[in-house]
Each structure stands twice: as structure tokens, then as C-alpha cells.
Amino acid sequence: MRVTSERYAIGLARAFGGAIIFGIPLLMTMEMWSLGFSMGRGRLLLLMVFTLVLLIGLSYFSGFEKTFSLKEDAMDAFAALGVGVITSAVLLVVLAVITFDMSWGDIVGRVALQSVPASIGAMLGRKQLGDEQDMDAEEERKREAGYAGELFLMLAGALFLAFNMAPTEEMILIAFQMTPWHALALGVLSMLLLHVFVYSIGFSGQEGRPEGGTFLSTFLHFTLTGYGVALLVSLYVLWSFGRTDGVSVAEMANMLVVLGFPASLGAATARLVV
């Protein structure tokens, strides 16, 4: 089937749909607006680069069109980021978060930060909103990619959900009011749900237990690794937002477990969404 401009236009429209739906929770979150201008510029730049790399990877697994080469994945990633930027800019102006008497650095910072979830949404839009997708090719890619691909999808899912929670003041407040026992319980619960979501309750896209794998080897190989990925992603996101600056290690561990909860759910369900 030839990819025509009309078909591409449909994919692009779905991308805008995805950007709005996945982006709206954060577009309407107050902390995101102030983080846009107050977070470290170097960290914001790094986050944008990280997003671009993530988008290229996501484009490989499920983009708004089937891709054949790195060049096409890169083109799709730029298009998705473009869609994310435009969607964020328009909505932020409509919501009066951006007004034109603001300084350029302020405006660009706000749009740039919001474009992270919006562009991931744009990339996933085709998969979630489209009907005619090439499931076979997609499954084949996921199989070919093996363990590394598995980890990448976990990382993408963890980042998306963690990113949705991390800006809010609540993450820190919850960490403050938890005792060590609460933190331990939440950590165990996160791992349990991660394991159950991925291997037991028959969501579509669920993994079969690897051949010859016992419960213990599966647990070590996937669940524990998945939770590790979730914690690392949480640390990265918290650091990006400056939440870890000057915080004691003990308090940081609490914050990681709190944010690790949504992150591990994201890691577990990445296969359903991507």
C-alpha cells in the first residue's frame, strides 16, 4: 500500500487527537506552568533531547505510520514533537497560561515542557485512536527487539505515567507524611502489581511467562528489573524538576517509592498502550 499525503494527513489528525488527550491532564496542572520557567534550563534541554530519543524508539514500535528506516523514525519523531509543540502552544494560549506580554524565555519554557507529554501522546495517538493498524508487524518488532526492547517499552511507559504525577506538590507531601513502614508496603505493592499486570490477569498484549521460566526467574528477570527501571525513571524525572536538590537520601528514597508506584504501573501497562 502506498503512503499518500491523504493517508498521512489522517495519521497526523490522529496525532493531534492523541496530543490533546494525553496532554490535557498536564496542560491543566498548575505546577507544570511554573516549572516551565523555573526548572533548570540545562535540565529542560536534556529532557527535550531525551524525549526526542524516546520518540524515535516509540516510532519504531508504533508510530503514526509504519516505518522502514532510522531516517523515517527520526522524521516521525520530529513530526510528533512538532504536533506536541503546536498543540501545547495553542492550548496554553487559549487557557490564558501564556499571554503575549510574557518574556520569550518564559513562553518557550512553558511550551517546551508541555510538549513532552503532548508529543508522546501524538506518537501514541495513531495506535489508540486508529482502527487499521498493522498488529502483526508490530508484534513481530516487539518479538525481534527481545529483552532490550522489553526494557525500552517499560521505560517509556514508566516515564509517561511518572511524568504525569511528578510535577504535583502531592508527590512530596505524600513522601513527607509516610512512615518507613508505609514506604515499604508501597514498594512491595508496586512490585506485586507490576508482576500481576504483566504476567497473570490476561490484559491484551500480556506476556506469556518466558519458556522454561519458573516464578522466581521471571520475577528476577522482568518484575524486579521493571521496578528498577521505574525507580530510575522516577529519580530522573524528580531530578529534572529539581525536587531532589538538597534533599536527604532518606527523604529521597521515600519520594522515589511514591513516584515509583505510578511509574511501575506505567511500566507494566506499556505493552497495552504502545
Binding site: M1, R2, V3, T4, S5, R7, Y8, A9, L12, S34, F37, S38, R41, G42, L44, L45, M48, L52, E65, K66, F68, S69, E72, M75, D76, A77, F78, A79, A80, L81, G82, V83, V85, I86, D101, M102, S103, W104, G105, D106, V108, G109, V111, A112, S115, D134, D136, A137, E140, G242
Partner: protein, 140 residues
């Protein structure tokens, strides 16, 4: 569909010629926006984005309102870093009377940006000396 995927290698050469113009346009606009954003943020990195806040307060207008006077001011952050919880204090002193002080807290003033606010007084601000200044901030 599946067969087409298996013939991927053959398709690659063709696909390059067949990239629709809309895809070029969308990717091009995306690339342009990405470079623009990276440029602006990158520029800030090397141009004093990390200098601590410096806040200058200017009185904009003074107008009589019911029960007193309203002073509108502009608080301008001339440095690169954003300031949070900026406290603005205004005083009006009148000869032979106490000084009247009013305060307000602005949530944020981003770097190189300004925010507007207002203070209320019961004394006529023009009759005495009106002074408005920022007394402090926290880092966000």
C-alpha cells in the same frame, strides 16, 4: 500487510522516493520548532539563566477607591532565575502620623519577566512619600 512488511528491504528504496509531501512538511515544521526551542533554551543556559533574582518595583498608577487608595505596581525580575513567593511591601508616611504599611505576595516572577500587583492604603499616597520595594523571595 504482512507480506509487505516482509518485503521491507525492497520497499525501503521505493519508500524513499514515495515519501508524501505532507510528511516532509510535517517533519520539516517539527524540526524547525525543535531547533527553535532548543535554540532559545540553549541560549538561556549560556546567558545568565542562573543569576539569582533581582527585583525592581515600579509604581504604575495611584487611584482613589472606596475606603482608600489603590497603588498598582510592576515588579520586574531583571535576572535570569525565577523568584517565588516574592513579598512586595509598600509604605506611605505622613507627616505627624504613623507609617502605613501594606504587603502582598506574588507567587512567581520568572526570569527577565514582570508581574503586576496592587496595594491598598488608607492614607493618600501622593501626600506623603510612597515607597514600594520587594522584601524577599524563595527559589522555586
Amino acid at each position: 500487510m504482512n507480506r509487505e512488511h516482509k518485503a521491507g528491504e525492497i520497499q525501503t528504496a521505493k519508500a524513499e522516493q514515495q515519501v508524501p509531501w505532507l510528511e516532509w512538511a510535517a517533519s520539516g515544521i517539527g524540526l524547525f520548532l525543535v531547533l527553535g526551542i532548543f535554540g532559545v533554551i540553549g541560549w538561556q543556559v549560556f546567558n545568565g539563566a542562573t543569576t539569582p533574582p533581582e527585583i525592581i518595583v515600579e509604581v504604575d498608577t495611584v487611584a482613589p477607591v472606596e475606603g482608600g487608595y489603590r497603588v498598582l505596581f510592576l515588579a520586574r525580575n531583571t535576572a535570569g532565575e525565577a523568584a517565588a513567593q516574592v513579598e512586595i511591601e509598600g509604605t506611605v508616611s505622613k507627616a505627624g502620623a504613623d507609617t502605613e504599611t501594606s504587603r502582598v505576595v506574588l507567587d512567581y516572577i520568572p526570569g527577565h519577566s514582570e508581574r503586576q500587583g496592587g496595594l491598598f492604603f488608607t492614607y493618600e499616597p501622593r501626600s506623603g512619600s510612597l515607597a514600594v520595594r520587594a522584601t524577599g523571595f524563595t527559589t522555586p
